[in-house]
């Protein structure tokens, strides 16, 4: 009896915990969408994060349309080939994929419109994209061969195949933050389909916006900037250490000695006292910790 009670308590505790997590996660996503968190360096990334947040809100809300989006994957990207291999159940009808995309293009419209000129352009582009998609799929519904529409879509996606991989990497990196399909009870095979599908939709919308070609550059640029910042931090540490090595505070403070008077003459940092600049002394510290601390 007591064991049953304790089991029940444990289950309710876990449930509460999961619920609290869900609440925190929802709040996080909401604030992310409202740009309350640290904004990403690139405007493109910002828009991308907004779209991801919106898509995840949909998943959280258990919107069945998200699941309906999973359709046949175009051949081209290795990820999508993987998707084909994994998702036997992902073989859905062409019309469901098409209608899924139409829904997604409507749904990924950024809510926040205070992002400056790019955002306005994005909105305009997305609206245009949506209308193109709508017209294409309405034609599809009215009897035009679905295969043509899908082939066109596939060729578009194939062009953006490389960028889809980049986006995949981006989303994988943020997976824990923005995706928690497991908790929603989505099957693993279906999960990867949804993720690939999300990436495909975002890529498609970016392609329509004409931003897609710029996206990888902006991503790699941000990464390079971060690396250069880290290296600069280490360079500054090196300079600081050299400064400490070359002149102790007592030597600098010794104002009576004329020799020292010359030595403590400042340039950008104290003058060396004993052969300061011959060879580089090894400095014992862990750069990884330094970067983490920075």
């Amino acid at each position: 009896m007591e064991q049953l009670k304790s089991n029940h308590n444990e289950q309710s505790h876990q449930h509460d915990h999961a619920r609290r997590d869900d609440l925190q996660w929802t709040q996080y996503i909401t604030s992310l969408a409202a740009n309350k968190l640290a904004p990403p360096k690139s405007q493109t990334l910002k828009v991308l994060e907004q779209q991801l947040a919106l898509l995840n809100e949909e998943i959280l809300a258990g919107d069945s349309r998200v699941r309906n989006r999973v359709g046949e994957s175009p051949v081209g990207s290795p990820i999508e080939q993987k998707n084909n291999a994994v998702g036997a159940e992902s073989e859905r009808g062409q019309s469901s994929a098409a209608s899924g995309l139409a829904v997604s293009l409507n749904d990924v419209l950024p809510v926040n419109n205070d992002n400056g000129p790019l955002s306005s352009a994005s909105l305009l582009g997305l609206t245009t994209a949506t209308s193109i998609e709508s017209s294409r799929f309405s034609e599809n519904k009215s009897g035009a061969p679905a295969a043509t529409a899908l082939r066109q879509l596939q060729s578009e996606l194939h062009q953006g195949g490389r960028w889809i991989e980049v986006l995949w990497q981006f989303i994988s990196a943020h997976q824990k933050r923005v995706l928690d399909l497991e908790r929603l009870g989505v099957e693993p095979s279906e999960r990867i389909d949804i993720q690939v599908d999300m990436i495909r939709h975002i890529a498609a919308s970016y392609e329509k916006l004409g931003l897609l070609t710029r996206l990888p550059d902006s991503l790699s640029e941000a990464r390079e900037c971060k690396m250069v910042d880290d290296i600069r931090t280490m360079a500054l540490v090196y300079v600081a250490r050299r400064m400490m090595d070359v002149a102790s505070p007592s030597e600098i403070a010794d104002a009576e000695d004329n020799q020292n008077q010359k030595k403590k003459q400042m340039i950008d940092f104290p003058r060396s006292v004993v052969s300061p600049y011959e060879g580089i002394q090894p400095i014992d510290f862990d750069p990884l910790e330094l970067i983490k601390a920075a």
Binding site: Y238, Y277, I280, P287, I291
Partner: protein, 130 residues
């Protein structure tokens, strides 16, 4: 020989050592693009060095950067990258032009024809500015 202003040669030396130290000890893999980005960032330091009459050795510096980047980039590529960041002679005073000439002389000796390349480039820069 022009006198170095404010012992800037030491500042320059330590700054370059610092960057090399950073590249060497960076925990991840340093790509060629990152090294080139760093060299682009150093443009102001090169200009300051010339303005302070520091005749620095581009070849030595490029060797240092190349070994810091685990020989990922050839010294010549780095040397040309550095020279590309040097200020346009038309923006310098006579003394500074002399310093720049001495800096470039070593590069020209090792890689003949490099001076012509950059001279043409600077000419284009002057024409564009006009």
């Amino acid at each position: 020989m022009l006198e170095v202003i404010n012992r800037y040669d030491e500042v320059f030396q330590i700054e370059m050592d610092g960057w090399c130290f950073g590249i060497t000890n960076y925990p991840g893999e340093v790509s060629a693009q990152v090294v080139h980005r760093i060299i682009r960032e150093l443009a102001s330091s090169f200009q300051a060095a010339i303005e302070h009459n520091v005749v620095f050795d581009v070849l030595e510096l490029s060797t240092k950067f190349s070994s810091a980047a685990r020989s990922l980039i050839h010294e010549q590529e780095i040397a040309f990258g550095i020279v590309a960041q040097l200020p346009n002679p038309s923006t310098l005073t006579e003394d500074q032009q002399c310093v720049l000439g001495m800096v470039l002389d070593k590069v020209e000796q090792k890689y003949p024809g490099s001076l012509d390349t950059f001279y043409r480039r600077w000419q284009i820069g002057v024409r564009e500015a006009a």
